[in-house]
């Protein structure tokens, strides 16, 4: 092959040719060069990207680090959308997780479910306590209690159970009414409560708010109990100070009354110093021992009653007494039933008349039923109809007679007890008996308002005919 120099020497026109080519292809050459550069650049870029792309293992920690923020932003921005999107997955995931690793799920959920169950149980026990208390109140002690409770339909086992429920006074505050300053505070918990002054102030604020909002005109209605979590604060108020007992579990029956008595006692002894208290504890008596004694008594009362009210169900004496009282009650019951049956039987005729056929006795004037005296008089005139002979129930023939009704009755429109009532006939009214039908007579008389009227009256209302 000839070199360019040889070409130039051998063919003098060659120089010219290449010059011409240069001129003609200069632009295209530059373009080609650019393209080549670009390809180079892209190749380098691909290489760089290749080197930067991570494996899945490398990606996970990077994303995880920001997952929290990403999720938080998504949840905050579009909480409802997120919830809608996630709920089916979460439901499915939970089901799957429970199937796959039940124990782990139990462990994970225990703190939440445990607390919820504990609260629910506490509430249920409290409800049970209230229900039993309502049934067994008022109460004394010993065998009578058991007896009374049984008669009230309370199972002694329930009472025993109620009293066996744990009870503890964790803290007791004595607080000045208005200022909310602590007069005395006893903490039975192992943990210190440094904020007892704040607690008492806040409690006072809540009381003040509730009292002023819900019963502004009454000094009697006030906040008496506050629930928080499993604890309760039972409040009993005196004139210048109130006691707030923070309790756990179920208090013994009568605890509130006991607390009220305690507050009253304290007022009797120290009211002046409570009233004058302006925040200087040196001006106050030391009430720690008194309060501690009270707490002990309340807690031991619980133990006593639970021992007592289990009431030795096997106790022979108790069982014997129960049996005796049971028999006496049964006899009394039978006696009462017999008495009322006889009484009812006796007064039945008075209440409903002798003939049980008379159903409609509602509007019959209830008056003493006395035999009716028939005054036989000469019939002044025979009106309306030809009088028929009147057969008396005893078979005596009656003639048209003028008689007197000894007690008030409702006459009927036709001879039937169920017939519509017509006009009330006062006792002593003179009736002119027109005719009779069975045990009914049709009579005519003068009504004070309606004038002369005619209606049906039962024969036996007229009493014995002489």
């Amino acid at each position: 092959m000839e070199s360019t120099d040889e070409l130039t020497q051998n063919y003098p026109d060659h120089n010219l040719m290449s010059r011409l080519r240069e001129l003609l292809l200069e632009k295209e050459r530059a373009k080609v060069q650019n393209l080549e550069d670009e390809v180079d650049h892209l190749e380098k870029e691909i290489e760089r990207i290749h080197s930067e792309i991570l494996t899945a293992e490398e990606v996970v920690p990077l994303v995880t680090r920001h997952m929290g923020d990403i999720t938080k932003e998504a949840v905050e921005g579009q909480s409802s959308k997120m919830a809608r999107a996630l709920s089916p997955i979460i439901g499915e995931a939970t089901r799957y997780q429970i199937q796959e690793s039940r124990d782990e799920m139990v462990e994970a959920l225990y703190p939440i479910v445990g607390a919820a169950v504990s609260r629910a149980v506490a509430e249920a026990l409290n409800d049970l306590r209230k229900r039993i208390d309502q049934q067994i109140r008022p109460n004394k002690g010993g065998v009578e209690v058991n007896l009374m409770n049984r008669l009230r339909g309370v199972d002694p086992a329930s009472v025993a159970f109620r009293n066996a429920l744990p009870f503890q006074i964790s803290q007791l505050f004595l607080i000045q009414h208005d200022s909310g300053l602590v007069l005395e505070f006893v903490n039975q918990n192992t943990e210190e409560l440094n904020d007892h002054d704040l607690v008492s102030s806040m409690l006072t604020a809540i009381r003040s708010f509730v009292n002023d909002s819900f019963s502004p005109d009454s000094n009697e209605d006030e906040l008496r109990e506050v629930y928080f979590g499993d604890d309760r604060i039972i409040i009993e108020s005196g004139t210048v100070a109130y006691a707030a007992a923070v309790i756990k579990g179920v208090e013994p029956e009568g605890f509130r009354a006991m607390l009220r008595m305690f507050v009253t006692e304290l007022h009797i002894q120290h009211k002046e110093s409570f009233e004058a208290y302006d925040g200087d504890p040196e001006t106050l008596p030391d009430l720690q021992p008194t309060i501690k004694t009270f707490i002990e008594e309340a807690q031991s009362k619980k133990k006593d009653t639970s021992n007592n009210l289990g009431l030795d169900l096997s106790n022979e004496q108790s069982t014997k007494m129960l049996r005796t009282v049971g028999i006496i009650s049964l006899l009394l019951l039978l006696g009462t039933c017999a008495f009322y049956s006889i009484l009812t039987y006796r007064i039945l005729p008075f209440a409903f008349g002798q003939d049980r056929l008379i159903g409609n006795n509602i509007s019959e004037p209830v008056q003493e039923v006395a035999p009716i005296t028939i005054v036989v008089t000469a019939t002044p005139d025979a009106v309306f109809q030809e009088p028929e002979p009147i057969p008396s129930p005893s078979g005596t023939q009656l003639e048209l007679k003028q008689i007197e009704l000894a007690s008030g009755k409702w006459s009927r429109t036709y001879p039937d007890a169920d017939a519509p009532q017509f006009v009330a006939v006062d006792a002593g009214t003179e009736l002119k008996v027109i005719r009779s039908l069975g045990s009914w007579v049709e009579a005519e008389w003068t009504d004070s308002e309606l004038g002369v009227v005619k209606g049906w009256i039962r024969f036996d209302w007229l009493g014995d005919n002489e």
Partner: protein
């Protein structure tokens, strides 16, 4: 040094900075966020009064501001040993509200209760609407000392509460 307890209340129109003053005084913090107080918030701060040889545990009742001064607020004021009245130097109307609160105090039998007036938000000088003279007049009328304060910078906050604590302490001594 013996410790005594005293209940004090903060009174003033809404948003004058009562809660911010308490927060600055008790926790040494400030926030620009406004979370209006509902009802009452109670905090505690011990103050030493060396000249009286006592440590005073202040139980601070920060009451909700506003002109609907209801019976509930009077309930909260019961048993208070002193009050901090607060107005906002950038809102003239809040100074008149101080008078309204003072009248209410008198109505519920709190005449002569130890009180200080804090003219708050003193850091916002450019927006100032209340002149010294106006404050002097009200302070004389209510017979209570006053201080400029800024819950934001902390200026005058300690001094304001300390001055109330001293007033309460000297009143306790005389009674």
């Amino acid at each position: 040094m013996k410790t005594i307890q005293k209940k004090i209340c903060l009174l003033g129109d809404f948003s004058v900075g009562k809660s911010s003053l308490v927060r600055q005084f008790v926790e040494g913090e400030f926030s620009d966020d406004y979370l209006s107080t509902i009802g009452v918030k109670i905090s505690r701060k011990p103050v030493e009064l060396p000249e009286n040889q006592v440590k005073m545990n202040l139980l601070i009742w920060d009451l909700a501001g506003g002109d609907d001064y209801s019976k509930v607020t009077s309930g909260y004021l019961a048993g208070a040993a002193g009050v901090v009245m607060v107005c906002d130097v950038t809102r003239k109307s809040t100074l008149s509200m101080v008078k309204v609160y003072s009248n209410q105090l008198n109505k519920i039998g709190k005449v002569g209760i130890p009180a200080v007036l804090l003219v708050n938000k003193f850091d916002l000088q450019d927006d100032r609407e209340i002149e010294d003279e106006q404050i002097e007049n009200i302070s004389a009328e209510l017979q209570c000392p006053w201080h400029f304060s800024s819950a934001k910078t902390g200026e005058g906050v300690e001094a304001g509460f300390a001055s109330l604590a001293n007033l309460i302490s000297s009143k306790s001594k005389t009674t």
